[in-house]
Amino acid sequence: MTELTLKINGEDVTADVETRLSLADFIRDHRRLTGTHLGCEHGVCGACTVLMNGEPVRSCITFAVVADGTEITTIEGFEDDDPMTLLRQAFHENHALQCGYCTPGMLVAARDIVTRLPDADEDRVRLELAGNLCRCTGYVGIVNAILSVIEKRRL
């Protein structure tokens, strides 16, 4: 067991964890923040994407011990976040989700796209979404939602 101190969604957290525990399992099973989803558990699908020190990472292939001393933001932690507020509304308006399994990871990745790439066009948005799989929507709604937020943030 290893002691772990980090911030999750602004709250200081200390825990004693097994070294092999993934950050995803720590978030879901130990902190009961089940908004972070697990799909493939080997880095491919993007369902588990969270922010670590403000940057998106895969929580399924990051051990919890590696997150010691960092600040983690999960989908539950964007209450007062402007880009995320816009994205949630846009996902709703553009039918950018169906079953919703991919949505937490999709939103975290989308927030990274609209903040890091304010000039992204449709091709670029699609390229950036290569790391987040959605089996329901066909991506059109998701791409339109993200493009509409990029547009709004330009004003």
Binding site: G43, V57, V66, A109, A130, G131
Partner: protein, 271 residues
């Protein structure tokens, strides 16, 4: 899918990490970004007894130019290269390569040193850096040594790195403005590992690499001679003959995609 049990040690310094490697019982592994180790351990393809985490070790994440050499630390992430932190023509070439590696959330953690140490034949940096040339810098129990990239990778997942050594960085050529570079990766979806790679760097002399085979990436000598003699393109048909010399075991499909990658990489260098 859970990893087998292991001990985790966060190294505070390079010396600390080297000591831990030297003293370890059983299998010890350095962990850089953990973006290859993580999946491999989840799938139990790797079951190290001890993980030595170097993600906080200072001094391994620098990028600096001195004269005609660019030093890139092992812990520099793909994302930092993608964002243009490596300067000049060398940096622009590396930026293209980095932006095609996996996805941003993997690039934020995955490191250039980890990729080259891992030596997956389908990964990008082993081929891309071989085309650039230069040295791998290695720290061992009795100090530092350098090894040319030309000799570093000896096979799939096999390198010249000893069990008690750590890859600390690279010394890469700072290419002049007149240098030409092209990189082409055949894969079915952006961000996936390559099915074939062509990498071309024409600096002081041309270096042409064929990668993503079942073995280590290799230099295609006939292609290099042709470019040195002034050629500005290589047809797919010619590329097939050139690659067949090195890979007599390739089937028609493998030969074709590697020839296409090589031909298009040359095309991009002269575009």
């Amino acid at each position: 899918m859970k990893s087998a049990k292991f001990d985790h040690q966060r190294a505070a310094s390079l010396d600390d990490a080297l000591k831990a490697l030297g003293n370890a019982d059983g299998e010890a592994r350095i962990m850089g970004g953990g973006q290859s180790l993580g999946p491999m351990m989840n799938l139990r393809l790797a079951q190290p007894d001890l993980l030595i985490d170097i993600s906080r070790v200072g001094g391994l994440d620098g990028i600096e130019v001195s004269g005609d050499v660019i030093r890139v630390g092992a812990r520099v992430t793909h994302a930092r290269v993608e964002d243009g932190e490596v300067p000049g023509v060398t940096g622009a070439y590396m930026q293209t390569v980095a932006s095609g590696i996996s996805y941003r959330s993997v690039r934020n953690r995955g490191t250039i040193g980890g990729s080259v140490a891992h030596a997956d034949p389908s990964a990008d940096w082993p081929s891309a850096l071989l085309a650039l040339g230069g040295d791998v810098v290695i720290a061992g129990q009795d100090g530092e040594r350098r090894m040319p990239l030309d000799d570093f990778q000896v096979g799939p997942f096999a390198t010249g790195l000893g069990f008690e050594e750590i890859l600390t960085g690279f010394e890469l050529p700072a290419l002049s403005d007149s240098a030409k570079c092209g990189y082409y990766k055949v894969n079915r979806k952006p961000g996936e590992f390559a099915d074939a790679i062509g990498a071309v760097v024409i600096g002081v002399s041309p270096r042409v690499v064929c990668g993503a085979t079942e073995a280590a990436p290799f230099r295609v000598s006939v292609a290099e001679e042709k470019l040195a003699a002034g050629a500005t393109e290589i047809s797919v048909a010619d590329a097939r003959d050139m690659i067949a010399v090195h890979e007599p075991g390739f089937d028609d499909y493998d030969l074709q995609i590697h020839a296409v990658a090589l031909s298009r990489a040359v095309g991009r260098a002269f575009a």
